[in-house]
Symmetry: C2
Subunit: 262 residues, 2 copies
Amino acid sequence: MNLADLSPAQLRQRIRQGAFAGPTAGLANGYAQANLLVVRRELAFDFLLFCQRNPKACPLLEVTDPGSFEPRRIAPGADIRHDLPKYRIYRHGVLEQEVADITPFWEDDMLAFLIGCSFSFEGALLANGIPVRHIEDGHNVPMYRSNLPCVAAGSLAGPMVVSMRPMPAALAIRATQLTSRFPAVHGAPVHIGDPRQIGIADLERPDFGDPAQLREGEVPVFWACGVTPQAVVMQAKPALAISHAPGHMFISDLRDEQLALI
Amino acid sequence: MNLADLSPAQLRQRIRQGAFAGPTAGLANGYAQANLLVVRRELAFDFLLFCQRNPKACPLLEVTDPGSFEPRRIAPGADIRHDLPKYRIYRHGVLEQEVADITPFWEDDMLAFLIGCSFSFEGALLANGIPVRHIEDGHNVPMYRSNLPCVAAGSLAGPMVVSMRPMPAALAIRATQLTSRFPAVHGAPVHIGDPRQIGIADLERPDFGDPAQLREGEVPVFWACGVTPQAVVMQAKPALAISHAPGHMFISDLRDEQLALI
């Protein structure tokens, strides 16, 4: 059976059983995937407030009740402790290890934040014939620390991390229209054009991911990136925090199109 | 000088000085007004989570830092303790009194939630030539407790309160398009047509506000209403909570059109 044909629930079951442990790009096409961040209750208010104040970088698909590992609105029956292929355990902001199951790390006052992922809007770009360079090249998307400030909340502060996709100006306009429909997955771009205007000195040296070639006549288009909340939380050095491993996302039951505002 | 010509900052100054104490409808036309709810820090996480889970009923324009009475993103320099014309003080969920200044009630761990108000989307309706019955009649909008459940958060739960505007079907379609642009002020309708389908037995007997006449050929159109969060919070009977008095809103520096998603 082809993995690409499995439903979100079937895929989560495979992952839970340890039968699939790879990156989730291309799986359950048309269904929204999510970034995961698990924190203790003591950090939850600040983080929820940070997300409210920075919706482009931190669009929340769901926040579980304190103590609950079931995202019952976007994937009833799922268990975020072992339904993702790979997790990262951070102690005091430092990556300690990667694991396939966070059950041993789960505490009764933890809760999960599930944050929209650009896979959803890239589907809309591809469906409109807009090529996505890093997908064509089989690379990770290039990401940069910009000088666009996030609005701070309590102990949480830092610059916005942005992802970049190069394209001709006409397609940048169309991409702006298309992604505006999807505020739950970062929405419209935050910048188009000269990277120095948002504090990026060299496009060829991304802070995360791989470079993407800017061809003659193309402009770089920048979107708020889901790495932002993770960077901001880790900078606050909580005693324990857990995230998905890059590219190893949570697969929800929501269709990408259900996230479209209009 | 005509009050209608004053800027939001000038109006807030007048209100702060006690020179204006009436309802704010029609003031600072084109600028967004907001519902206010002030709670202690102990209830803030549950309420913020409730808003995240029920964005149509509780669209947040701003949440202040704990202890802060300045909504610095939507109205820098404002002070929510005395920049609204009238407030309601609730003890254990019961209305105790109405006051013109909440400074004596403010506590160091309180914070303010400013929630989008339908005045903004009614401006868009009127600008499109869609008549708004309760404005024509000089009444308050009719509001009903529906059977549409809100998603609970901690101690906070309850049904969605909806507002109703009657109009011909063709205008209901246009109104759906127009209000979809404004998720920050309740967005698209939650129901069009038979009120019994959402648990409303008699349109002529609203739970809040005044009835609005349904004329031959008109359908009732229902939107999520900003009374919902207030009803839900008061039902949880917090020792102390403060809201604006109905119709006596906070006037922000945001233009209605800045709230439009696209």
